[in-house]
């Protein structure tokens, strides 16, 4: 396990792949350019399991009060995602106040986004039984039990010790290929020209 995945560290796990007709390799290259030019990148996502206002931001802000950052851990996967490449033009952290997205930043085909200050290619395995859900109705549930069926992303805390399993095959060990550090305001709603 990577050194930053120490006990108590906050991570946001998600699966990533082709998105809005763009390959993962192209997305990573583009996001790195955006970080170089604008100082940050927006990493788009969807679904309701890591809602920006009710999950990611409260989680990240609480960790920040402890002097901790959140590490986004991404598992590359084959994806058939073919969302239309509609560019977001504004973001909002609260759904009320909207901010223009700088021209250097392109987030397409997503309704939520994470704010990244860096993006690294890595290669390590993350046993989800060593994590637990950090926030939400299933707070405290082991990561390997939480990530299943339609749930493919989660706000997690690394546990002191992995969940004791009757059968090691019950664990879910995910291969992390990309990591990033979340930076304030951590997560936002997006909207574009529709």
């Amino acid at each position: 396990m990577s050194e930053f995945l120490r006990s108590g560290h906050g991570i946001l796990f998600m699966k990533v792949g082709k998105h809005a007709k763009e390959s993962l390799e192209d997305i990573v290259a583009r996001k790195r350019r955006e970080i170089d030019e604008a100082g940050f990148a927006l990493w788009g996502y969807g679904g309701n399991t890591c809602h920006p206002a009710t999950m990611v931001r409260p989680f990240a802000e609480e960790r920040a009060l402890l002097g901790e950052s959140i590490t986004l851990c991404m598992e590359p996967m084959d994806s058939k995602h073919d969302a239309p490449p509609v560019r977001a033009t504004e973001y909002s952290t609260n759904g009320v106040d909207w901010v223009q997205i700088p021209k250097a930043i392109n987030s397409v085909g997503s309704r939520f986004a994470l704010f990244l200050s860096d993006l690294s290619e890595v290669d390590f395995e993350l046993p989800l039984s060593g994590t637990e859900v950090a926030i939400g109705p299933r707070e405290g549930r082991s990561g390997h039990q939480y990530i299943q069926h339609r749930v493919d992303k989660a706000c997690l805390i690394v546990r002191d010790r992995a969940t004791i399993l009757n059968d090691a095959r019950q664990d879910k060990i995910v291969k992390i290929g990309l990591t990033a550090t979340l930076m304030p305001p951590y997560a936002a709603f997006l909207r574009g020209e529709e």
Partner: protein, 290 residues
């Protein structure tokens, strides 16, 4: 449950769901699943038979289900009057428009934020129903805020049906249940009945999380009184809609548009047939579309 025609009743629930605005997760609008709505609506219709029932918030549209099941005689009973108070104008408009279309004269909805005192002109009801934000991160104070309004709506005498989390694995639901029961008793309402682990929701991150029916009833010694005050205590507002989620919005306003129940034009474009004859036939300015 009395004998009902399940197919007809489910189709009635389906009509209600079709009319419901999309849920806003940031305000804890998380909709109950259709089968549970059916069972819940029948129970509410029976529980509040011939009574005046006030809903303190109702994104699920149980109020509409109860009223429509009765209107269509899918169930042979129901409340004689139903009022919904909700801070989402989309929900209020959807209910009132639907009630008018279906000729449900005893159902109405009005815009109201639970943080404000009850409207001065609000009638006194026999019973209340609420499915509030479940209070995971505020020790149940968000639930109590809605329950308190319900108790005010019945002017301290009557019954209430509180729908809140009740899940064997989510221990926070047990703490909130205890707090709400304690609070209700302090207000002069005891737990008359509880139906545990009953309903499921369209909740992506916890699809197996259940809620219960907690039925409270006023003590015989309660006096009829309504004292309703705004809520501005920071302790209550803290984490109201979840961790670090302090309410900022008074009302969710509906953006007016034509054909509210139709797909919006930005959802699709039309790609026309190549054939010349077909293009002429389907041209939008022909009588075919008029």
């Amino acid at each position: 449950m009395s004998e009902i025609n399940l197919k007809n009743a489910m189709n009635t629930i389906s009509d209600v769901i079709q009319n419901r605005p999309r849920a806003l997760r940031e305000f804890d609008q998380i909709y109950m699943k259709a089968g549970d709505m059916m069972m819940q609506s029948e129970f509410v219709a029976r529980w509040a038979k011939n009574k005046h029932l006030c809903f303190i918030g109702d994104g699920d549209a149980i109020s509409v289900c109860v009223a429509l099941l009765d209107r269509r005689k899918d169930v042979p009973y129901g409340p004689s009057k139903i009022t919904v108070l909700d801070f989402d104008e989309r929900i209020v408009n959807a209910i009132n428009t639907f009630a008018e279309k279906e000729k449900i004269g005893h159902l109405d909805a009005r815009l109201y934020n639970v943080l404000e005192k009850l409207p001065d002109d609000l009638d006194t009801y026999d019973c209340f129903y609420t499915n509030p934000p479940w209070g995971q991160y505020n020790d149940g104070t968000s639930v109590s805020a809605f329950v308190d309004r319900g108790i005010e709506a019945v002017s301290n005498i009557g019954e209430g049906l509180i729908v809140i989390g009740d899940d064997p694995e989510a221990l926070w639901t047990h703490n909130v249940l205890a707090k709400v029961q304690t609070r209700s008793l302090a207000k002069g309402f005891y737990v008359a009945r509880m139906q545990p682990e009953l309903h499921l929701y369209h909740l992506d991150d916890a699809p197996d999380l259940k809620s219960c029916n907690l039925l409270v009833r006023s003590l015989g010694s309660n006096k009829e009184v309504r004292e309703s005050l705004p809520i501005d205590d920071p302790e209550v507002l803290h984490n109201f809609y979840g961790r670090l989620q302090v309410p900022r919005v008074r009302y969710v306003r509906e953006v007016p548009r034509l054909n509210r129940d139709k797909a919006t034009e930005y959802e699709y474009t039309l790609e026309l047939l190549e054939d010349e004859a077909c293009r002429n036939f389907y041209a939008p300015d022909t009588a075919f579309y008029s």
